[in-house]
Subunit: 337 residues, 2 copies
Amino acid sequence: MTSPQISKEIQLAARPIGMPKPNDFRLETVTLPALGAGQILVRNLFLTVDPYMRGRMNDSKSYTASFALNETMTGGAVGEVLESNSDSVHVGDFVLHDLGWRSHAIVDPARAKVVPALPSLPLSVYLGVLGMPGMTAYAGLLRIAEFKAGETVFVSGAAGAVGALVGQIAKLRGARQVIGSAGTAEKVQHLEQKLGFDTAFNYKDESVAAQLGKAAPDGIDVYFDNVGGEHLEAAIGAMKPFGRLALCGAISQYNNTSAPIGPRNLALAIGKQLTLRGFLVGSHYDLFDEFAQEMTGWLESGKIHFDETVLEGIEQTPDALIGLLEGRNTGKMIIKL
Amino acid sequence: MTSPQISKEIQLAARPIGMPKPNDFRLETVTLPALGAGQILVRNLFLTVDPYMRGRMNDSKSYTASFALNETMTGGAVGEVLESNSDSVHVGDFVLHDLGWRSHAIVDPARAKVVPALPSLPLSVYLGVLGMPGMTAYAGLLRIAEFKAGETVFVSGAAGAVGALVGQIAKLRGARQVIGSAGTAEKVQHLEQKLGFDTAFNYKDESVAAQLGKAAPDGIDVYFDNVGGEHLEAAIGAMKPFGRLALCGAISQYNNTSAPIGPRNLALAIGKQLTLRGFLVGSHYDLFDEFAQEMTGWLESGKIHFDETVLEGIEQTPDALIGLLEGRNTGKMIIKL
C-alpha cells in the first residue's frame, strides 16, 4: 500500500430493543493496517443488508454468531481489488466477500470469490438474484419444499428479494398457481403486473387466512415462509394433504420483545401429513452451479424480473437495514458506494 | 345364519365437550340382518381403543370421517368367523377388521384380514405390537423421523402403545440414548426398568424443557411426538441441528375446548434446520411386511416387551377410551370380550 488506506465503517453501537434505531449504529473512520502476505485490498462497490442480520444484532444465539458491540458489522459485499499480495486474485478483479458494512476491506482471498463483470447487469446481482437470496429461493422452493410442476404455491414477503424469486421460479417451473402476500397496495400491484404472480394480496387488508382462502379455495401445496406468525398459521390451515412448508425466515418476529405466538393449528400437520422444514441456504451450496446456470439463462432471456431498492452511501446502510425490516424495499435492498 | 344374531354395540349418544363422559355413549342390543352374499359373521374377541378416536367423536374434520351420532362406532377388532358366505375366509378363521365397538359384526371379507393364531401371544397383538400401533412406531421412527443408529431419541407418551415401541425399536436399532416422558411415577419406573429406556421422567414433576435439558444436555436428534403442546415446544428447544420431529399425535390437545398454544419457538426450526413431519400410519403400509418380519423376530427372541391394559366386556369400551385419554393405560388399551 502506498499510503495508509482509510475505511468508513458501520459499527454496532448498542444492541437494539425491538426495531433497530439509527443510534444503535455508529459510523467510524478507520485506518486500515498494512496489507499482509497473500491479502487483497478491496474497495466495496455494493453492500447488502438482509433480514438475518437483525438476529445477529442480538446477544442471543441466532443462525450465526452475534455481531460484537463496538466492532464493524459484517455482511455480503461486492468490490474491486485495489491492491493484491495474492497470486490468484489480481488488481482490477471484482470479488464477492463477506466484509460488508464498510467502504474498504482487507480480505483473505480464501474468503473472496472472483466474479465476472456482466454485460447487461450490475455487479449487485451477486448480492441478490445471482447470489445468496437467489440461491435461497431456488434451494428452498425446489429442494426444501420439493415443489413440482402443477402445484399451487404461496409465498409471503413476496415483494422481497427472496420472495419475488420464489414466485417467479415457481411459475417458470410450471406452477399451477402462485400466490404472494406483501404489505402495500403498490407491492401487490407489482407482484401481479410485473412479476407474473397469479394472485397477490395485502396482508394488512384482511386476515391472511381469509385472503388466502379466497385466493386458493382448494388449498395450497407449498408454502414458502419468509414471515412466520399469522402467515404461517394461515398457511398450515390452507395446506393440502402432503403439503410442504419451507421455513426460510420469520421477519414478522425479528423485532419481537416478547415470545411470539406459535401456530395454534400445528396439530393439523398430523392429519394433513405436512412437512415443515427449516433451512439455511449455506447448507445447500452443492446446488449452486445448477442454480447459477439456470438463473443466468432466465436472466439472459428476460424471463426473470428482479428489483433493487438502492440507497447510496455507506452512511445509509443502517437506514437500509431498518427500511428492510419495515418493508420499505421492493426486491433486493442494496447500498451503492 | 340359523337364528338371528344379536350384537351388543356401543353407539355415539352425544358429541363430547372436552373429555368424553360415560353418557356420551350408549350400549345397544342390535339384531343383525341375514348374512349377505360373500359376507362373514364375526364374533369379536378383542377390541381396541386408540387416541385418534377422540377426534372422530367431534363433528369437525379430523384425520378420518366423524362418527355419526346414534350409530355404532367403529375401530379395530380381532374376531373369530362364526359363519361364512365367502370362498376365501372360513368358519374358525381369525380376522382383523375395523368393525369394533360391538360384539358381533357382519363383515365384507375385502375389509378383513385373516391372521394366524400365535403359539405364545394373544390375538390382541394384532391390535397392538403387531398391528397399527406397532406400524405407527416403526414407520414414524424409521421413515418419518429418519432415525439412525447413534442418535438420541425423545418420545412422549412413552408408556403408551406407540411410545413404548418407539423407544424399544430405537434401542434395538442402535440409539445412543432413548428418553421417554410419562405421567406417573409408576410409568417412569416401568420405562427405565422394564422397557430399557435410558432416561424417563414424569412431565408433571417439573417443566418438560427443564427435565429434557437435564436428560440430554447435548440435545436430541429425534423427537417422536404423541402429545403436542408443551412437549413439542420443549423438544424444538432441545433439538440438535438437522433434527427431525415425527408428529404422530397431540393427545394433550384432543379434549381442548379452546385453541391450543402453538410452539412459540417454532422459528428455531429455521436456524437449526429442523424437519417437522406429520404422518398417518395408513400412508405407510408399504412397510408392513418389513415391519411384521422384524417385529415378529424381536417378539420371538424376547427383545421387545409389550404391555396391555385389558378391560373385560363390551360395556367397558367407553371407559377404556376415557381411561386412555386420561393416561390410565400402560401399553395398549384392549377390551376383551
